[in-house]
Amino acid sequence: MLKQRGAALPDGWSKPMSRIELRNVNKFFGDVVAVRDFNLEIEDKEFLVLLGPSGCGKSTALRLIAGLEEPTSGEIIIGDDVVNDVEAKNRDIAMVFQSYALYPHMTVRRNIEVPLKTRKIPKRERDELIAEAARWLDLEPLLNRRPAELSGGQRQRVALARAIVRRPRAFLMDEPLSNLDAKLRVKTRAELVSMHRELARTFVYVTHDQVEAMTMATRIAVINDGALQQVGPPQSVYERPANTFVAQFIGSPPMNVVRGTLVRDGEAFAIDVPGGRIPLPPSLGPTAAAASRADLLVGVRPEHLSFDGGPVRAQVRVVESLGHERHVICDLSPDEFAIVRLAADEPAPSVGDTVGLTAHPEHIHLFNPETTERVS
């Protein structure tokens, strides 16, 4: 899609810093809290993904940055300026919507031209900028078509062309891939990453798809119930989730989280869970003990459990094959179960077998059962 242009960017791309900050931002719709006490700094040229389930407030947060919603309280800062009172059109940002929001009565050329025309850019310059954007996104043969005559992927490229044509200092994207089929989504994902690299601009991207977040973001901001849960690079969010929501929202299948009790096992610490006892590594025991409570939530990702006759007894309920891997669902007790991920070539137990599970000690996560926050 995007043609490689090397490091040289055309004139007009040197822009002031496009750092974005939301400081103590709240947004209420009547009694409904959409965004709660949001404090988020997005660095210049960063690709930040706002990730969360439907209705968690991520799109509202994006719309607050865009100027399409006014915060109930708090400050929105773009560059060095507080922009709460600045209209959307004056924030120098571009937005790509989930539905692409193309004007159906206009040709592709006119759609791309709109942001230039509204800024009264002379015709000659407009034509040059449109030609350039069309070249970048391989839209040249489609310039005289209308949106109804384009495929989903082509419409998405037109939406991107309309966003880049006026060279804004930041791009806001609200689930732009969700209307594409799976194959095109994978392709476009990679193209957006290279577009971010080439344009060297701040990207704020909203999605509920953790795969998009993990593959595209330089940092992920996980949101739930209008509140920020964790902000960090994808790998760090995956490896050290801040609470059980993040732990179970990121990762597929989700992290196994079961109730346990901290016990002393000689000199070391261990956790009693349904089905047996998990010894804690020396690094984790004192931390858990410092939480000064015996009851804890124990989290282990499915790939960090193995069937090697370990201390936790479980009965195999289901074995699911996904081709490249298998998920084995094991009952630890009538109420608790765990999922184990196996590579396709690893031997899997049969349904009904009683197995011994081992949790890899360096990948055990402990959470406070009251606050659900991480304690280790």
């Binding site: 100027g67 959307a88 059109k89 937005m95 539905s99 159906p104 009565h105 709109v114 509204t118 109804a148």
Partner: protein, 314 residues
């Protein structure tokens, strides 16, 4: 021999299949006819028969008692359609449409744009603005008869209070048509408002938001997003309002009876006068046929343009 037998069997099977298919199609057609029968009966009684009868009556001149007396073929059509009286009536109707349609459309659009705002209590305004759709022509005409009354009407009272001369709205040949038009605009406003508001609600909010982010102000959004997206609805309203204007009768009959000096004698009122006052059934029928073709043309224009609406699907 065996091959010939097989071929014979195959051809018998194939002809059986053709017959079965034909029977199935016949049954389907009969079933469709049964389903359509009530509509066909209603349309035949109240639309097709009167239409054909009107065409037919136009070929006969009426005697002074209103009975079809002599067959004159197309002569009567030629006479009526070429007459000054018909031309004047057509002109009056055109003027009436010119007064009512653009003004009604602009007012309806304005009110719809106001009522489309997401503001508290807007539902009350929406109810008020659309209320005229539930008002009968008779009630509206009587109400406006009072409002436009030269002595006790509130409009003349307002004119006097602001230093203007009072106007004999319905009695002055210069003012009668504008006064009837005013009543008609008010009467149609509810319909226009509802149709345009419905059209506005179908425009995806994201288009406005995208335009906002792209730098478009309120006026630019109105002309570059709202109006183009609304154009099929506006066209539909124009055509319906024009057809309404060409078919107006009630308010004319109740307010001016076509006068003064035939200044409000629109086509339908002229048909009524010829048919039911002058008992010129043939002339009324010929004018009715002319009106039918005018309305048909307008409807075809509407269909033609509305077909292009598919273009707007995203």
């Amino acid at each position: 021999m065996r091959d010939a037998g097989l071929i014979g069997e195959a051809s018998a099977t194939s002809s059986l299949r053709v017959r079965t298919r034909r029977n199935a199609r016949l049954r389907e057609a009969l079933f469709a006819l049964v389903l359509l029968a009530p509509s066909i009966a209603l349309f035949s009684t109240f639309a097709f028969y009167p239409l054909i009868k009107t065409f037919y009556l136009g070929f006969f001149r009426s005697d002074p008692f209103g009975l079809s007396a002599s067959y004159v073929g197309f002569d009567q059509y030629i006479d009526v359609l070429g007459s000054d009286r018909f031309h004047r009536s057509l002109f009056t109707t055109g003027l009436f449409a010119l007064f009512t349609v653009p003004t009604g459309l602009v007012l309806g659009l304005g009110l719809a744009l106001l009522a489309h705002q997401k503001l508290r209590g807007m539902i009350i305004y929406r109810t008020i603005f659309s209320s005229t759709v539930a008002t009968s022509v008779a009630v509206a005409s009587v109400m406006w008869l009072t409002l436009l009354n030269p002595s006790i009407g509130i409009i003349n009272y307002g004119l006097k209070e602001t230093g203007f001369e009072p106007i004999n709205w319905l009695g002055d040949p210069e003012w009668a048509l504008p006064a009837v038009s005013l009543t008609t605009i008010w009467l149609n406003l509810g319909f226009t408002f509802i149709v345009i508001l419905a059209g506005l609600q179908t425009i995806p909010e994201e288009l406005h938001e995208s335009a906002k982010v792209d730098g478009a102000g309120a006026v630019s959004r109105l002309f570059n997003v709202t109006l183009p997206m609304l154009s099929p609805t506006l066209l539909f309203s124009v055509v319906v309002l024009t057809i309404n204007a060409f078919q107006s009768f009630g308010q004319i009959d109740l307010l001016t009876q076509g006068g003064p000096l035939d200044r409000t004698n629109v086509i339908v009122y002229s048909i009524y006068t010829e048919g039911f006052r002058n008992f010129n059934e043939g002339v009324a029928a010929a004018q009715g046929v002319a009106l039918f073709f005018i309305v048909l043309t307008l409807t075809l224009i509407q269909f033609r343009f509305l077909e292009r609406r598919g273009f707007y699907g995203n």
